[in-house]
């Protein structure tokens, strides 16, 4: 005899949903809310109608769907949930406010909206969050702490602050509308998101980000500063299309890693990079300016120094070092090609700086003791003083005093 349950619009509280026997079953979830405090086990052969119901699970449990798709699905307690197979959610997937849902095994396939309840909502565990539909991810400062893949034929719209850490965020296909959202990197992770134009990227001290493709940010990159703060990005290129807000008047940090920072926006950009000019705060990464419009204004509120150690290349654009009186420090052996760009002040602080293009210095150029500036075959245009306390290797180049 067939077993039929029709919730018919009522809310249901259950200790579990078990529908795995041999008998033919039909389950219509109706339009209400199911609060389930135990395992969910559906069978592939049953008739399952999710209607517009929402299932909230709030106890450690195993969830096996037999390939059936839920409408709304909420992880409603800080518990561990084990997926027996992929969890398909065609409605809104919610991580309840204040809860950490540790979801292990298989994938959560979200096909519509995703809501993180509040800033203490966390989706964790070994299950992959796979987005494959159209909808809005509302961050509310909550955290996704799992592998996260976006592979959709639709559009994923991002809203609010979405924190991410721990896993690998992979973009494969689809449209991602970042709106005015913020992706806040709060833990070490891997990003493979070439194809997404992130709006704002924020980060917290000590993160190590591995890029397996380029990353593009259209608005701000935000990096708080404090004693000992650092941010490590390795691999590929970070395309900074907007501002870089790093540190402040009394706060500094160091940028480590091998990722190339490329400033390549098409409008005005303010780069406030408080790395200090001497000591232990610096930019280890290669740095490129390739603006296609507007003015790139350099700033460093802490001491008006930016310490480059991974090489500096200017390709194009208008760059203003003067408004904030920024000195470009070069604190390690590296190549510098600043072409037709004019620095304000330059300080060759440590190591050997080899020019691979021309250099224009609008104010004072200082070569510190035990440091070397190698001119090569290039032209050094001086509009201010030339203080050589170290070594100047003239090569076959030319020094021009001009104004």
């Amino acid at each position: 005899m067939a077993l039929v349950y029709d919730a018919n619009g009522f809310n249901v509280t259950a200790t579990g949903i078990l529908a795995n026997g041999a008998t033919s079953k039909t389950l219509d979830m109706g339009e209400g809310t199911w609060t389930v405090s135990g395992n969910i086990q559906l069978s592939s052969g049953m008739t399952f109608t999710p209607s517009t119901s929402t299932v909230t699970v709030n106890e450690t449990s195993t969830i096996k769907t037999g390939g059936k798709a839920f409408s709304g699905f909420t992880f409603g307690a800080t518990k561990t949930y084990t997926l027996g197979d992929d969890l398909n959610v065609d409605g809104t997937l919610t991580i309840g406010s204040g809860f950490t849902a540790t979801v292990n095994s298989n994938s959560i396939k979200a096909s519509a909206g995703i809501t993180l309840g509040n800033e203490t909502s966390v989706l964790a565990g070994s299950a992959t969050l796979l987005y494959d539909g159209t909808g809005t991810l509302t961050g509310n400062s909550g955290t996704i702490s799992t592998n996260w893949t976006i592979n959709t034929g639709g559009t994923l719209t991002l809203s609010g602050i979405i924190k991410y850490d721990t896993g690998t965020l992979t973009y494969t296909a689809g449209t991602v509308d970042a709106g005015t959202s913020t992706l806040s990197i709060v833990g070490s992770c891997t990003l493979n998101t070439d194809g997404i134009d992130w709006y704002t990227i924020a980060q917290t001290n000590g993160i190590v980000v591995t890029l397996t493709s380029d990353i593009t940010i259209t608005n701000d990159v935000t990096s708080p500063g404090a004693s000992g703060f650092s941010y490590t990005w390795n691999g590929y290129t970070m395309h900074i299309k907007g501002d870089y807000n790093g540190g402040g008047t009394n706060t500094t940090f160091t940028l480590f890693g091998t990722t190339t920072y490329k400033v390549d926006g098409s409008g005005d950009q303010l780069l406030n990079i408080n790395t200090r000019g001497v000591g232990t705060r610096y930019i280890q990464n290669p740095f490129i300016i390739e603006s296609t419009g507007g003015t790139v204004t350099m700033d460093s509120e802490y001491d008006e120094h930016i310490d480059f150690r991974g090489g500096f290349t200017y390709v194009s654009g208008t760059v203003d070092w003067t408004t904030h009186g920024i000195t470009a420090y070069f604190g390690a052996t590296q190549n510098v090609d600043s072409g037709t760009m004019s620095f304000y002040k330059v300080n060759i602080y440590a190591g050997t700086v080899t020019l691979t293009g021309n250099m224009i210095v609008g104010n004072t150029l200082t070569i510190n003791a035990s440091s070397t500036l190698a001119l090569g075959s290039n032209t050094l245009m001086l509009k201010g003083d030339f203080i050589n306390n170290g070594t100047f290797t003239p090569g076959t180049g030319k020094v021009v005093v001009t104004s």
């Binding site: 100047f392 090569g395 005093v401 001009t402």
Partner: protein, 423 residues
């Protein structure tokens, strides 16, 4: 300004005009490749040491180009000696300046501040022969130029808001650069060149005297108001003449070749005793052309007009056009050749007369190509040997090889006199 501190060896070092390079008195600097410090008369290069009186060591090689450098406290005793063309030196070693001059900056503030008064100058001395004189915003008064000596240069900078008025001949060996206001009195000027080409709004009154120039003349500034007065401009050496958009009174090409680089308007006299090369420019004359030298027409157009236009001296024009209502007199027995075209724009009401300067003695015309001759009253003209001169209307008196509206004229010769005869 760039201060060099710390012993440094350069390969090539260049100091651009108008800049100052200061070398540490305690430091040593070596240039192994080329050294270039090329200023100009109005834009010097300044080289000195950080401590006045204590020389900096600057060792240069043989590849050096040093001009208009104001060098002080530089010791190049090691290395190749430095020849500072048109520069000045002070407390230097192994530097030789040629054409040493001192800069004088006008500081006068009075409504009529005499140039002879030493207190009106930055040096508290009066400029003397060969010195360089600058009028800038340092001086707020008007200057009466009453110095007889020849200055090395005079530069009236655009920042000078006053007026320089000459009461003696303004003598300048080099350039007279005018970016401000200048009124020249009857004494005129005797200068190496004149440059009023910058776009600063200014007025130059040339006065009734003579301007003798031994080089280029650029009276073509975009906002220049030029009062030609009764002046005479004598081009006394090779040079370019550019008075675009302005009209001169009398111009005499006395020595060398004067080359027009823009159109030239003259409303009194153009005298040619040496060579005038027009290039492709237009010369407009209201008064007279007296050619006793070489007139090189190039591909130019000469436009003549006025009630008493006189052209004297054998001359080959490229293209000559007489504007309507022009009364012209051509040198008797002189030959005038038109290699491109001869155009007369006379009309029934505003005819053009073409007479000889001596009645009954012909001027000789020879057109080799096209002519366009409107209403013309022609007397004493022999166009024999060229193409027929065919005036559309008017009258022909004692002419040869002239037609009137396509009709040949029968000529009766009596002695040297031609008589008209109408069929």
């Amino acid at each position: 300004m760039t201060i060099f501190v710390g012993n440094t060896t350069f390969n090539n070092l260049e100091i651009i005009a108008g800049n100052t390079a200061t070398f540490a008195s305690s430091g040593g600097f070596v240039v192994t490749g080329s050294f270039s410090a090329i200023g100009s008369a109005g834009t010097w290069v300044v080289m000195n040491a950080t401590t006045s009186g204590q020389r900096a060591i600057l060792r240069l090689g043989s590849s050096q180009d040093v001009q208009y450098v104001d060098a002080t406290d530089i010791d190049s005793s090691v290395g190749v000696p430095v020849t500072n063309l048109s520069g000045s030196v002070s407390n230097t070693v192994n530097w030789t300046a040629t054409g040493t001059a001192v800069n004088y900056i006008f500081t006068g503030s009075a409504a009529t501040a005499s140039a002879l008064l030493s207190s009106n100058w930055s040096t508290i001395t009066t400029p003397t022969g060969g010195n360089y004189v600058y009028f800038t915003d340092v001086g707020t008064g008007n200057c009466t130029w009453d110095i007889l000596d020849s200055m090395g240069l005079i530069f009236i900078n655009s920042s000078y808001a006053g007026l320089v008025t000459t009461t003696t001949r303004m003598d300048v060996i080099g350039a007279l650069t005018v970016q401000g206001n200048l009124t020249v009195g009857a004494g005129g000027a005797n200068v190496g060149s004149v440059d009023a080409s910058d776009a600063t709004a200014k007025t130059i009154s040339m006065g009734n005297g003579t301007w003798l120039v031994k080089g280029n003349v650029s009276l073509n500034g975009a906002n220049l108001t030029l009062n030609r007065d009764g002046s005479t401009l004598i081009m006394n050496a090779n040079g370019n003449l550019n008075a675009s958009a302005n009209t001169l009174n009398i111009v005499s090409i006395s020595n060398g070749t004067t080359t027009l680089t823009e159109a030239l308007n003259i409303d009194n006299k153009l005298n040619i005793f040496s060579t005038l090369s027009l290039g492709a420019n237009t010369l407009t004359i209201t008064g007279s052309l007296n050619n006793a030298g070489t007139f090189t027409g190039g591909t130019s157009i000469v436009r003549g007009y006025g009630s008493s236009l006189t052209l004297v001296g054998n001359t080959t024009f490229n293209q000559l056009t007489l504007l309507n209502n022009t009364s012209s007199n051509w040198g008797a027995t002189n030959s005038f050749v038109f290699t491109d075209s001869f155009n007369v724009l006379g009309t029934d009401t505003e005819g053009v007369t073409i007479y000889s300067t001596v009645s009954a003695t012909s001027a000789k015309f020879k057109a080799t190509t096209a002519q366009s001759i409107g209403y013309a009253l022609v007397e004493d003209n022999n166009a024999f040997g060229g193409t027929v001169m065919d005036a559309s209307a008017g009258s022909l008196t004692r002419t040869v090889n002239w037609y009137l509206n396509g009709t040949a004229i029968v000529i009766v010769v009596g002695g040297d006199t031609f008589f008209e005869f109408f069929e």
